[in-house]
């Protein structure tokens, strides 16, 4: 059976590549301002190498398959929810917070298995009312400037 390589080896390689990329950027900074970034990149590269060496040692010591508490593969639900959050962000930016938020709350609660629509709606309405009073009425947050429908929710 082909022996597995511990993932820290790949992680270390990515960190090393990242350090090299930032080093190239840092070397283009003129004058004294580049000193700290360059020094940090050098130290980051050393740490990345240590991560690789540790990974290789773990690979050598391993007897069976590696068991990881979390993996990218097992996190697809989390990444899907992350996509919802990003769509919510776009909704907030281009439509407006007070439209995007109720839609997000209703949808996210349903996705996360809140079975009762009644509970779902009550929570959503309560959240929107409380945060509207706090952020718009009391704190006068200029959130109405965001999104095409934002100005409809301006408190006078």
């Amino acid at each position: 059976m082909k022996k597995q390589i511990h993932r820290d080896v790949w992680v270390g390689a990515v960190l090393l590549a990242f350090s090299a990329w930032v080093l190239v950027l840092s070397l283009n900074i003129p004058g004294q301002a580049s000193v700290l970034p360059v020094a940090l990149c050098a130290m980051m590269a050393v740490c990345a190498l240590i991560v690789i060496v540790n990974g290789l040692r773990k690979t050598k010591e391993a007897e069976g398959e590696f068991q990881y508490a979390m993996t990218l593969k097992s996190s697809k639900n989390a990444f899907l929810f992350l996509l919802f959050i990003f769509i919510y962000y776009l909704g907030f930016k281009y439509i407006g917070y007070w439209v995007a938020t109720p839609i997000f709350l209703l949808f996210a609660q349903k996705y996360l298995r809140v079975k009762s629509w009644k509970v779902n709606v009550i929570i959503t309405v309560s959240y929107v009312v409380i945060t509207y009073i706090l952020f718009v009425v009391i704190l006068k947050l200029p959130i109405y400037k965001i999104g095409i429908l934002g100005s409809y929710f301006r408190f006078i």
Binding site: L40, L82, Q109, L139, L141, K145
Partner: protein, 506 residues
Amino acid sequence: MLEYITSALGLFASWEVILALVIGVVAGMAIGIIPGLGPSVGIALLIPITFSMSPQAALVMMTAMYTTGVYGGSITAVLCHTPGTAASAATTEDGYELAKKGRGMEAISVVTVASVVGGIIGALCLILFAPVLGKLSLRFSALEYFLIACFGLLVVSGLTGKNRAKGIFSALVGLLIGCVGMDSITGVSRFTFGQMWLEDGLDSTPILIGLFSIAQVLILVDRLITGRGNTIVDDPSKALTGKRWEKGNAKKLSPTMMRSSLIGSFVGFIPAAGCSIAAWISYSMAKRSSKNPEEFGKGSTVGIAASEAANNAACGGALIPLFTLGIPGSPVTAILYGALLMHGLQPGSELFTGAKAPTTYAIFLGFMFANILMGIIGLTMAKQMAKVCLVPNSVLVPIIVALATIGTFALANSMYEVLIMLIFGVIGYLMKIYGFEPAPLVLGVVLADILEANFRRALLMASTKGGLFAYFLTRPVAIVIVLVILGFALIPVVNALMQRKKEKVA
């Protein structure tokens, strides 16, 4: 001084001041709970409201909001892994783990008691030593600030988790993120990729909310969808059965709370150091000097007490240079500076000796009583607050996301901040998957500017005084800080030697 305090008590004992105190405490706690909204937002909001109030009532309300805002941020740090402010990030480490074990009530109680102890000691330092300590803070210049930042960096070694190389890498990335924007000395843009909005650099709060809240939200979603739990606590049936306060806690936590309060007061009075650095230093100090360092990060009450006592003590400490010298060391104290001037209180010796001394001491007393009132409310509400642990994740998760979004937007009324929060949410989640600790990264971001700018300023100052070492020898405060750093670095070595000696004797 005693006569001023007696007169201050007379000023304090009015309905206007007491009402201002209560409103400041309750509003501070509420505003601290919301991620992104810290005491600075609340105090800024109070400025127009308090315009027609007496100076003592106005400043009591604002300083009460300052200390209770920091405390409020720790409640969500414990219950939702969502620190309201950067000062509460250190509390997240152990507080959330303790809450997960169903000991949320105890976690809230420890946070409350430690915050009260820290707040009172900070207030006592303010009342008793403000003029003396104010003069001392004048002795801090670039070299001393740089050394304090080095002290903060040393803390990283205690936060790296199981894999030290990954922890240090996180801290270095944090320092690198702190370099983003216009260099404060040469004015050169660094890592801005031509984006104007990056010229001012990245604020640590959206980064913090992303790394802690959004990343944790994603973990909760994964647990929920895969049927591994619908609440924060591992066993909901035992969530509220735990004790509010374990029997031996007072004895166990007192030395840590006292030490952390003193560290917090000291770090707090150094302009620009602030509550978050105080909390991290105390947390790391407690871990290093503990007989059971392996308990830290797994729900240690000592860890919670250390960071909480320090961050509230730092609030009192931060008011010292403000009142004595008019030096605001943080955004919150800068707003308070404006409030002082607005109410005709010009910082300086006049506030401690002249006709305005009773007003000054009334404000300080109000600050102390705010901490006590915060403790009463916090302990009374501990059980109710701990019930957050029982709210299903299916409800909690969307609310945390929506609140984090609006709270982060409110920081600078900018969508860029929200975007940064999201990006760091992804980074935080990837860090969790691959075994990186987020705490060193946050600390790196917080320390980067103090570290680099002050080091370069110190070099410039030293160049006219015969070099860095010769300059260092002329700075007694810097020498003391270096000795403290060396002592701190040697704690684990001394502990190990003592342990070995004990084992030999046994």
